[in-house]
Amino acid sequence: MQTETHEGTAAEGHGSAGGLPQFDFAQWPGQIAWFLIMFFAVLAFMRFFAVPKVGGTIEAREGKIAGDIADARRMKDEADAQAAAAAAEAAQARAGAQRVAAEARAKAQAEIAARLAEEEAKLAATGAAAEARIATARAAAMVNVAGIGAETAGAIIEKLTGKKATAAELAAARG
């Protein structure tokens, strides 16, 4: 309420109509006219420059960010797919290597077994030939032994009896 008494003096001091200066309606038309001019100038500026520019920039940025995120996601998917493919390839290669190694091992073992059998067969053959030779030699030796025995027996008989025993008698005596 204090303000009201003062505003009266203030207004009087400046030769105004009294009361709040804002209610001096003589000042309204000019202020309104200028304000409308100013407001529509700013509106035109905003409508044709500021809003398209600022709003456009914000939208462009959001579009760019969304696009970048989509790109990054797509690249990540691609990288994941490639990693999976590489892992599958590696697994395949490992399986292949293991198969080759197993094959090589089997082949080597088969070769070793074959060579072993071959050598054993050779050894057996050699042994058999040797045995055959031994048997032949023994048979020959036995024949010689029989001849030596007959001769010895003939000589003994001749010494004891004084007469020679015939070959047929000797053979019969040996039985």
Binding site: T3, T9, A10, H14, P21, A26, W34, V42, V51, G55
Partner: protein
């Protein structure tokens, strides 16, 4: 006490002519196109506003500070008000609402931030939005534009806005009267809210400013009167605190005016969807 200056908190709202312009006659009214302190302030505000956006709207993907500020202001209108309240149908009205917000904001802030007092015998920090003529123009322009838009978009059906269903004929008719009163009081409240807030803040600041000087002069007379320096300093600290408050009010009132305009516009754009 004779040398004590008069406490005149209303003096700051007086219109003073700087340059005599042409005077038009329009419907029996004298339209004086003189440049006054009020007109000079609003033109300066408009120029600062346009210069700000001309300099900061650079369209960079990574904004600098100025561009970030411009975009923040834009987002207050676009992302905080129009999109949540109206939705996509509100897009064409963003320029108007953004202009509304920026004009009120710059005029409010100017009157607080640039309060450097008299310069060259002229009060250069005129609070344009403390002029009822200006706030009423903004309110009437906004309100009737929205009302006209309602009839342009929906024709006579738009009168259905005042009809409250489920009240019967008599009850409905009574409600139409109440609804119409509450509807047409909108421009008045829009204008008075902004005018009152800015006026009140400036009156209080001016009063405390006068106290600082008046009490200091009393204190200078020495003796027991020196105690008057204490309330003088307290008054000064009040001005500092009030300046902070007025900055908040300046931004808040620009936001409130624009938010209400957006809500009113929503009734027009989404008429028939929400009922």
């Amino acid at each position: 006490m004779a040398q004590q200056p008069a406490i005149e908190p209303m003096h700051q709202f007086l219109i003073e002519k700087i340059w005599q312009g042409p005077v038009f006659q329009l419907g029996g009214l004298n339209v004086d196109m003189s440049i006054t302190n009020s007109v000079a302030s609003m033109l300066a505000g408009a120029l600062m506003l346009m210069a700000f956006f001309a300099l900061t709207a650079r369209g960079e993907i990574v904004p600098n500070r100025g561009q970030a500020l411009a975009e923040s202001l834009y987002n207050i209108v676009d992302r905080v008000l129009v999109t949540p309240i109206i939705g996509h149908g509100g897009r064409p009205y963003v320029p108007y609402l953004f202009t509304l917000f920026c004009v009120i904001l710059v005029l409010n802030l100017m009157s607080v931030v640039l309060s450097v007092g008299h310069l060259a015998g002229q009060d250069w920090t005129f609070a344009v939005t403390s002029q009822l003529a200006v706030t009423a123009t903004l309110a009437v322009l906004t309100f009737f534009s929205i009302l006209a838009l309602g009839f342009i978009k929906h024709g006579p059906k738009f009168l259905g806005l005042f009809w409250v269903p489920g009240m019967g004929i008599a009850g409905g008719a009574a409600m139409v009267v109440i609804e119409m009163i509450s509807y047409f009081v909108r421009p008045v409240t829009l204008a008075m809210r902004l005018f009152g807030n800015i006026l009140g803040g400036h009156v209080v600041m001016s009063l405390f400013g006068s106290f600082v000087i008046a009490l200091a002069i009393v204190g200078l007379s020495g003796g027991l009167a020196s105690l008057a320096f204490i309330p003088s300093v307290l008054s000064f600290s009040m001005i500092v605190a009030l300046s902070g408050l007025e900055l908040v009010v300046a931004v808040l009132q620009a936001f409130v005016f624009t938010a209400l305009a957006t809500v009113y516009l929503n009734e027009v754009v989404n008429f028939g969807h929400g009922h």
